[in-house]
Symmetry: C2
Subunit: 306 residues, 2 copies
């Protein structure tokens, strides 16, 4: 069954891999080379779908210095259309909606084939920034321009830990038409379990079926990558930081930790009866980290097929 | 090897069961009946030792209403001497030091046989209370009166979560003569792992061997017991609360959660090379909860003998 159908009927149990499009400076032949190499690497995974991030300069969100400098990347929609033509499964294209005018978004929504493309709409990074389009407007536009298109939103377990109301936000987004959710990278399993648990019981209370939640996992090959994860807003428990810092092989240690966490979360979601997907990404562009992320996806995929 | 030797040489891997002495009103024959019934129940567990709590009225610590009313209990030292004569393994007797004068503590320390008794010294429940003896003074007294006596302290992962310095407190207590630590009931595994990890690496940095940390586990048969755990200062993650609230059998669900957490923590401590013990208690005095705590101790014991 296609991941589009799985999300539409709320059955979950799918595997995604997330890509950040190449830098804008790589447009053209170089972007095509990167796309071809990436697809060759991912083919053995039998993924249910790709996730394509839309990178915004989040300096407004976080005043701390960014551990890796911000580099503008290709528009994920353009990268999909121009360079990933040989990808036959569906793709979930992120839209940082504040970057686009209503007209741009409307045109893009209208042009998408529901069977091949889904989208995740992400609001502005900060209250101070001046978005061209708000998240609520973008969601309404998508319904108007292409009511069949499956639209997802972000779910942030870290915010739940601090405010205890992320499940209420998810329910509100769902009432406004959002059909699935994707988390940022999960390192704190208790935060993820708290969110999915509160969401599950609140959904049951309202009599609405739970929408699939896609949990994102990644590996971390260096303290610099860890610092970047924290900069992005990921809560990394102290013991995990210590484990990674003192490991003989940080990357291998992070792979084992991520696999253990994913395994635990899969069992937990199945037990609760909440539909879920797993998304794997490489936060770093180092080749060894990408290859370890592929290994993680492969191992998680075996669990999903059980 | 006796648990006294295991603590003295820092080798860990022991199993304890904690008891709250009977109410003061049960002194005499009733206390003896309770002691005999308890020892009969615990005999099949092949415990390495007993823990005997010294209950103080902690109203000063927590202004919220106590879910179960405070009942004065027998002095654990008296309960051990008077009613647990048939217990042949060592016992760890708690001393809420603020309740006793220096003279009382000195006399008690001096009278203890190191091979049979260890103690855990607990400071006053609140800064507002007026302790008869301070924790630092009690520790100094124990060294003076009976230098061979093994003295432990409390370790609070919840405090580490909030202040990030509990490992520094443990190192300071250790420098003052504390030979082992006992936690309160563990429900938040990340808090426990954070503490043991920070403690392990800080010990290595100072070149001091890590002292055994005893992790306490319990079961929870009702939302009232859960409320009491929270009142005592135990952090119970939301998802665990939800699981217990919605379980067909709360007690059985809590048993499974505690066993999973203990199993995870045992593997973690072994991997880190930190000596540890496991302590099981029944927070409630309901018979079914006590029996489930015994079952938990039995299962954990099998893991420790592996």
């Amino acid at each position: 069954m296609s991941v589009v159908d799985r999300i539409a009927n709320g059955s979950g149990e799918f595997l995604l891999f997330a890509l950040t499009p190449p830098r804008s400076t790589s447009a053209g032949d170089r972007a095509q080379e990167i796309a071809d190499a990436t697809l060759a690497r991912l083919r053995p995974l039998h993924l249910d779908g790709l996730v394509l991030y839309d990178i915004a300069d989040e300096a407004a969100r976080n005043p701390a210095e960014r551990p890796f400098p911000f580099m503008p990347t290709l528009d994920p929609a353009a990268f999909l259309a121009d360079n990933l033509a040989s990808w036959s499964a569906p793709a979930i294209v992120y839209r940082a909606v504040g970057k686009y005018s209503s007209a741009e978004l409307r045109t893009w929504f209208a042009a998408q084939d529901r069977a091949r493309v889904m989208t995740v709409l992400v609001g502005a990074a900060s209250r101070d920034s001046r978005p061209k389009t708000s998240l609520a407007d973008a969601l309404a536009l998508s319904r108007e321009a292409n009511p069949d298109l499956l639209v997802g939103g972000v779910a942030i377990p870290e915010r739940h830990r601090r405010r205890d109301d992320e499940h209420v936000r998810l329910l509100a987004k769902q009432a406004a038409g959002t059909r699935f959710f994707v988390t940022q990278v999960v390192y704190d399993i208790n935060a993820a379990k708290d969110l999915v648990s509160d969401y599950r019981y609140a959904s049951a209370e309202r009599g609405t079926p739970a929408a699939p939640i896609v949990f994102t996992f990644s590996v971390c090959g260096s303290m610099r990558t860890l610092e970047f994860l924290r900069w992005l807003g990921v809560d990394v428990p102290r013991w995990i930081e210590n484990d990674l810092r003192h490991a003989a092989d940080t990357l291998e240690a992070s792979y084992r930790l991520a696999l253990t966490t994913a395994t635990d979360l899969i069992a937990y979601c199945r037990r609760l009866g909440v539909p879920f997907g797993i998304n794997v990404e490489s936060v770093s562009i180092r080749r060894v980290e990408i290859e370890m992320a592929v290994r993680l996806a492969q191992q998680v995929g075996e669990q999903l097929r059980r």
